[in-house]
């Protein structure tokens, strides 16, 4: 009897990480562009001190509303603060608000969604009821209501943005977890007598990680937009913290005609950031879980 054997060197080798990354970029040029924007933003936020020369918060009344020049790349605002510096530091604010609220909101949603699917029955019904109620509030309205309770400032804004994200993530994760619940390995885990915590955390959560990551990436973009809107309304991050939405408040409109750069550049920063995270999230979705495609 002839055994079919395959020489070791012919075994299908797993492509290297770099090759995988290359393939991802080639298949999703837009996603790669989004990823690039995201990486640039993160680099800006981390290296803010190294890539700027001015102080983002110190007023300089000798250089108010200067046009973009070699000295001030993107011009200065009505307090003489360098716009480029403030945009770079603003990336720090936007990203920290975006990442923290998306991560915390998404993770709470993940746990609630999986638990809801795992326990089912009355628990699921009550959880879904609560989530439905939370979803009845448009995102920014709920965030504003939260601000009216907790007050303004960076930490409260993070809190105000995190809470509306929980039901949105929980809903997506729950629908995936419902499918996972019916798989034989969960049955097997139950048959082994594992506790609820172990089944949920070790067996279900890892298998709904794809939709979780996708929802979370999209949420970062939304959170950045939401933070910018709240700050623009004066109900978010407060002066003198550099934040993109805040930069468009007040001065940007008053000096729109004489100093349009004050109004233009922070808006470009917001749009590019949201654009980057959206495209990256879409590509991630197509790559990780094609079923989720709308």
């Amino acid at each position: 009897m002839a055994t079919i054997s395959r020489p070791a060197d012919q075994a299908p080798s797993r492509p290297s990480r770099l090759a995988q990354l290359w393939q991802f970029c080639a298949e999703n040029p837009l996603g790669a562009a989004g990823g690039f924007v995201v990486i640039v933003m993160i680099a800006m936020a981390v290296l803010a001190d190294a890539v700027t020369v001015y102080d983002p918060t110190r007023n300089n009344f000798g250089a108010m509303l200067e046009a973009p020049s070699r000295e001030y790349w993107l011009g200065t605002d009505q307090f003489g603060r360098d716009l480029y510096t403030r945009i770079v530091y603003g990336a720090r604010t936007a990203l920290s608000v975006g990442f923290i609220s998306a991560f915390v909101g998404g993770t709470l949603g993940l746990i609630l969604g999986v638990a809801s699917a795992h326990f089912g029955g009355r628990f699921d019904l009550i959880m879904q009821g609560i989530m439905d109620v939370l979803m009845a509030f448009p995102l920014i309205i709920l965030a504003l209501a939260m601000v009216s309770i907790f007050g303004t400032g960076t930490q409260n804004v993070i809190l105000a943005i995190t809470i509306p994200f929980i039901p949105r993530c929980a809903r997506v994760v729950r629908s995936s977890a419902l499918a996972v619940r019916e798989t034989p390995y969960i049955d097997a885990a139950r048959a082994c007598g594992f506790g609820h915590a172990r089944i949920v955390m070790r067996h279900m959560v890892p298998n709904v990680f794809a939709p979780y990551l996708v929802v979370m990436t999209a949420a970062v973009g939304q959170a950045i937009l939401l933070e910018a809107s709240l700050s623009f309304l004066g109900l978010g991050v407060q002066e003198p913290v550099p934040a993109w939405g805040l930069m468009l408040r007040g001065g940007a409109q008053d000096y729109a005609e004489s100093a349009p750069w004050v109004a233009i550049f922070p808006g470009i920063a917001i749009s590019l950031a949201v654009f980057g995270f959206n495209l990256f999230g879409d590509a991630l979705r197509d790559w990780l879980d094609p079923k989720l495609k709308v």
Binding site: V133, I140, I141, S229, V274
Partner: protein, 323 residues
């Protein structure tokens, strides 16, 4: 159909009730006494004033009584008095409702006028430069904050008017109803409607495109082609009609964005609408006003989705039987 409509209406009630409970609880989560918080900023605190304030907003009553009063107020549209201006909330809302409603309707029309033609062209000319331009346009719409778009529009108006007439022109600030002076009214409200409508249209354009792409591959479209129907007629009558269903749904879901967009855009264009009232009530710590407006928004959002559900059932009879 009646059964379907009734079913939808009944489904809405628990959500609205839950939202009312949530708003009630949240507004009582405010750390400390609302009256102390509000009056402390005004300097000295007179015990009598404090008691009056508590009596006025009812925080001197037990929780359950407060809740029942709150629910009764919601049902009778009596939201109490503004803690900032002292006027009845329903009057303050009534003053501004018309303006916001008009902008919302105009923004929706803008969105539909952008989304359906562009989405259709994009699908029919799939993978041509037209398609790429349309897709780029809609992706930009999702990423651009509507308040920034508003600022850009104002900037554009200033620059163009200056180039054309020599002096800058600004849209009027005082609201005049449409039927009193249509030109004046539209020259004021068209800009915020454009800024919000573009944002609103972005997702709907993408939805129209993908729905059209799907429908254009259906057998009945091929049949229509085979029997020699004009291309335009196929697109309009056979494809678009069927592709519009998911677009209607997405317009309903995205209605939340429209309301959020209004809140922000009214600030940019300095319109005295509900959105501005909401932002002011939050920054003035006018809790009565905030809770009334939040409930109003939730109710409008729920009613819109009810309307969309009914429209959907009417457009597609299969839905009525399936659910």
């Amino acid at each position: 159909m009646l059964r379907y409509v009734l079913n939808r209406v009944l489904l809405m009630i628990p959500t609205l009730f839950g939202a009312a409970v949530l708003v009630f609880v949240l507004m009582r989560l405010i750390p400390g006494d609302i009256c102390v918080l509000r009056l402390a900023s005004g300097g000295g605190m007179d015990q009598q004033v404090l008691a009056n304030c508590r009596q006025e907003i009812g925080t001197d009553q037990p929780m359950l009584v407060q809740f029942l009063q709150f629910m009764k107020g919601l049902l009778t549209l009596d939201f109490g008095k503004s803690m900032w201006t002292g006027r009845p909330i329903i009057d303050e809302i009534g003053l501004r409702f018309q303006l916001s409603l008009q902008v919302a309707i105009m923004a929706t029309i803008t969105a539909i006028l952008i989304a359906i033609p562009l989405g259709t062209i994009s699908a029919v000319k799939q993978n041509t430069w037209i398609d790429y331009v349309v897709r780029g346009f809609s992706i930009a719409g999702v990423a651009m904050p509507s308040f920034w778009l508003g600022i850009l529009i104002i900037l554009g108006i200033l620059i163009t008017s200056k180039a054309l007439f020599g002096s800058p022109w600004m849209p009027p600030i005082r609201y005049v109803p449409l039927w009193v002076d249509p030109f004046y009214n539209l020259s004021m409200l068209i800009w915020p409607a454009l800024a919000t409508g573009y944002r609103y249209s972005a997702v709907a354009t993408r939805m129209t495109r993908s729905a059209m792409l799907e429908v254009l591959r259906e057998d009945y479209v091929r049949t229509a082609r085979a029997k020699g129907v004009y291309h335009k007629l196929i697109v309009r009558r056979h494809a678009l009609r069927n592709a519009l269903l998911p677009v209607v749904t997405i317009l309903g879901i995205e209605f939340a964005f429209l309301m959020g967009g209004l809140v922000v855009t009214e600030q940019v264009f300095n319109l005295n609408g509900l959105g501005k009232l909401f932002v002011e009530s939050v920054s003035n710590q006018d809790y009565n006003m905030t809770q009334a407006l939040v409930m109003l928004v939730v109710a409008i959002f729920a009613l819109t989705n009810l309307f969309i559900d009914i429209l959907y059932g009417w457009l597609d009879p299969r839905i009525r039987y399936n659910r």
